[in-house]
Every structure is written in structure tokens, then in C-alpha cells.
């Protein structure tokens, strides 16, 4: 079954087209890496698929549901880790997860939430307000928030951003776990070697256009990348 399908997707901000005629299909259970230089349209593509923004032209379907016409159904099946963490800064880490748990119909029990925080290495900071967290800790908490949703399609925008080397290994583990659970993952990243190691398929965007869709092994480097500039961390 096709998990994500896009046909002729276009999106513009003002006069500038961020996505132009992007079409691809992703089978269910695939781990897909999206690469491209800054401003190539990676985040815009993920946000269109997540129903956070609308495409100006074209269509996209997630697990058969149209992202424009059937937003609610898509939202029940996706989880997005964006550049912004979706966290409430005055609330504690535990309160942020409890809030999501209650909206998802769970009971927000402390023990279950603490286990989720333990998984991302934040159990000892459970009762601290997010505004006291470093950028890396926020990223870890945002990752826990995404995992909490147990979504069938997971959209990760720079999941390695702000993380330390153990954090890189944490994301690697999360990706392997999601694959084991049969989730479909689309991950935008600049870490080309890491993405090739973990993902089956790749998409490359250049100036809003899709220039490659296929196996990661044959994936070209983004234009302008010299390898050394794309640090791989741990």
C-alpha cells in the first residue's frame, strides 16, 4: 500500500515558489530521507503533508486520505517533528506530555509519561519547565512527544538538530524502532551518510523541485555539498 503520495505539489510564499510540481510515492513501512540545501523546500514539503499548511496546487494523500479535503483523518495518522517544537515553555516536560496524552484520549499517568521521558534521557528533568531547557533537551522532549502519538506516518524535520552525539544515537534508535513497528518515516536531514545508512529511499530537492527519487545508495549529494560541510556527529 502507498503510505504517502504527492502529485504536482506546488506551494509559494509571496512571490517565491517553495515547491514546484513535486510528485512521488512512498510505500508503507519505508524510511525515506529528504535532502537538499537550505531553502530547497524540505520543511515546506513535510508541513504540507502534515496538513500544517496547504499546497497552492497539486494533491497529496497520506494512507489514502487527501491532505486538503480530509485533514482530520490525516492528522489522526501522522506525527510531525518540526523546526519549532510544539512545546509550551512555561509547562514542565511532564505537563507537556500529559497535555498531549489527554488530547489523545489517554489518562496521562505519571509512570507512563516518566517512562517516555526516560527513553529520551529527560526523566531527571521531568518537573522542570521547558523554558529552562537547552535547545538539545527541547529537541529530545519534542521527539518524545512525537513518539507518544504512535502515528503510522512520522514526519521528522532535522531530527538531529541541536543534539549531542548520544542524541544522534537516540534518533538512530528511534528510527530503527519505528521501522520495526511498521511506521512510514519521512526525514529531512543534511546528514547524508547517516541517512543513507538508515533509510531505504531518498528524495532530493533543489530550489523546490524534486530532482531525485529512488534508492539512497544512488542518491546524489545536494548541490553545493562537499561532504566535509555535512558533519555526521557520533
Amino acid at each position: 500500500m502507498i503510505a504517502v503520495a504527492a502529485a504536482g505539489l506546488c506551494r509559494r510564499y509571496g512571490r517565491r515558489w517553495a515547491l514546484t510540481d513535486v510528485s512521488f510515492e512512498v510505500p508503507e513501512g519505508a524510511l525515506v530521507m529528504i535532502s537538499g540545501r537550505n531553502g530547497s523546500g524540505k520543511s515546506t514539503l513535510l508541513r504540507v503533508l502534515a496538513t500544517a499548511i496547504r499546497a497552492d496546487r497539486g494533491t497529496a494523500h497520506v494512507l489514502g486520505h487527501d491532505v486538503r479535503a480530509d485533514r482530520e483523518a490525516v492528522r489522526e495518522r501522522i506525527a510531525l517533528l518540526g523546526h519549532r517544537t510544539h512545546l509550551y515553555e512555561p509547562l514542565t516536560a511532564l505537563e507537556n506530555l500529559a497535555l498531549v496524552g489527554r488530547f489523545l484520549g489517554g489518562d496521562g499517568r505519571r509512570t507512563a509519561l516518566l517512562a517516555a521521558l526516560e527513553e529520551v534521557g529527560l526523566a531527571d528533568r521531568a518537573d522542570d519547565a521547558v523554558q529552562t531547557f537547552s535547545a538539545g533537551m527541547r529537541q529530545r522532549l519534542a521527539l518524545a512527544r512525537v513518539l507518544q502519538q504512535e502515528a503510522r506516518v512520522v514526519l521528522l524535520d532535522e531530527p538531529y538538530g541541536h543534539l549531542d552525539p548520544p542524541g544522534f544515537l537516540l534518533v538512530d534508535g528511534v528510527l530503527r524502532r519505528l521501522r520495526g513497528q511498521g511506521a512510514t518515516v519521512l526525514m529531512a536531514t543534511h546528514l547524508i551518510q547517516r541517512g543513507r545508512m538508515l533509510c531505504d529511499r531518498g528524495l532530493v530537492l533543489e530550489a523546490g523541485r524534486l530532482v531525485y527519487a529512488g534508492a539512497t545508495a544512488e542518491m546524489p549529494e545536494p548541490a553545493g555539498a562537499d561532504g566535509a560541510g555535512f558533519a555526521e556527529g557520533a
Binding site: R84, H86, P90, L91, R102, A129, R145
Partner: protein, 221 residues
């Protein structure tokens, strides 16, 4: 209903965490009442006659600060978008925020009454009626105020835009609330309180209904 309770709990918790800001907004409202009293001068009759108007002007000015503040936390890390993508009901998120804003403005209004009594020598023994008028008036301010605060929170000039959009819309609330409060302070020999409170109630009902319908369109792309 469950989503509404979860949203309301979240907004009340956020207000509690930002209580220092609430104290600052009260101080702003009290300072406004003080400055208005200087403008009238030492004429105690004139002070008493204008007390209700100044109370509601102080509350209206302070409300733009508290309404704008209520969406600051939602926009910092796009937390509101995160809830919409869960998906949480936009209507529940609106009513949770509007009820929390209404509660905060009511508390602010109640806290400003003693300041008005001291500065304007304008008291009333009909305290429950006064509480009812404050509740209806703040309901009429918070319903459109929450909607417009959501709309302007996404713009750069939000501090200017919110009062520009809100003030013309809430003129009926201001007129009715000032009139009803004046009747409570100065006396109501003609029994005019009920029509003014009915107007306040009708305005609140219409705008609470509209706000719930329109909020999704305001916050979604």
C-alpha cells in the same frame, strides 16, 4: 467536551504560571484609573458620575494586554499548531482559551472595583449585581478578544492591531456595561438595569457562538 476541559485546564495552568504578568496588568489597570481621576480633578460629584466609565475603560485597555499575552505562549514554539495537528478540536481550543480569558478579566474587574471605590468614592451595596455586570461585560470582551488575539498573534504589528480591531467591535459592550454599572452606583429609579444587562448578554451569546465557528478558519493556514 473532554477536549474543552483539557484545553481549559491547560490555559488556566498557563495563566497561573504567568501570574506575575497578571499582577502587572492589574497595576496597569489601577494606574489608568488613577490617571483618569487626576483628569477629573477634586470634584467628588463628577468623579462619582464618571467612575463606571473609567472602570470599564481601564478594564478594556488592560484586556488588550492580557488577551495578547494569552497567545504569546501559543506562538513561541507553535504550540497551538501542535495541538491542532494531534488533532485537537479548534472549537474546544477556542472555548478553553476564551473561558480562561473571561475568568482572568472578571478577576481583574473585581480587583479594580475597590480601587474605583477609593479613588472615585463610587461604591454600591448591590455587589452581586455588580459582579453579574462585570461577568457579562468581560464575557462580551473576551469572546471577540480571543478571536482577534489569535488573528493578530500571527502578525508583526500585533500590539497595535489588536486594539484597532477590537475596540470598534466592543463599543456596544462598553456602552451597556458603563450604563449598567452607573445605574448600580448612582441608583436606578427607572428600572433600566435589566435592558442594559440583556444587551450585554445578547452580545456575549452572539460573539461566543461566532468565535467558536470562526476560530478554526483564523488559526489554520
Amino acid at each position: 467536551m473532554t477536549d474543552l476541559l483539557v484545553a481549559l485546564r491547560k490555559d488556566l495552568l498557563l495563566q497561573w504560571r504567568g501570574r506575575a504578568q497578571i499582577v502587572a496588568i492589574f497595576a496597569f489597570g489601577a494606574a489608568t484609573l488613577l490617571l483618569f481621576s487626576f483628569a477629573i480633578g477634586p470634584d467628588s460629584v463628577a468623579l462619582r458620575e464618571h467612575a463606571a466609565g473609567f472602570l470599564w475603560l481601564g478594564l478594556l485597555l488592560a484586556s488588550t494586554l492580557s488577551l495578547a499575552e494569552s497567545f504569546e505562549r501559543e506562538m513561541e514554539e507553535q504550540a497551538l499548531e501542535g495541538l491542532l495537528l494531534l488533532p485537537a478540536s479548534a472549537r474546544a481550543l477556542y472555548y478553553g482559551k476564551a473561558i480562561a480569558n473571561c475568568a482572568q478579566l472578571t478577576l481583574l474587574g473585581v480587583a479594580l472595583v475597590p480601587v474605583m471605590v477609593v479613588l472615585y468614592d463610587a461604591g454600591t451595596v448591590r455587589l452581586l449585581s455588580l459582579l453579574g455586570v462585570i461577568l457579562l461585560g468581560t464575557a462580551g470582551l473576551s469572546a471577540p478578544g480571543t478571536l482577534y488575539a489569535a488573528m493578530t498573534a500571527q502578525t508583526r504589528a500585533r500590539q497595535t492591531l489588536l486594539p484597532l480591531l477590537l475596540f470598534p467591535l466592543v463599543v456596544p459592550v462598553l456602552l451597556a456595561a458603563v450604563k449598567a454599572t452607573s445605574l448600580l452606583i448612582l441608583g436606578d429609579p427607572m428600572g433600566q438595569l435589566r435592558p442594559w444587562t440583556s444587551l450585554l448578554g445578547a452580545f456575549a451569546v452572539v460573539h461566543w457562538a461566532l468565535g467558536g465557528l470562526l476560530f478554526g478558519r483564523v488559526v489554520e493556514d
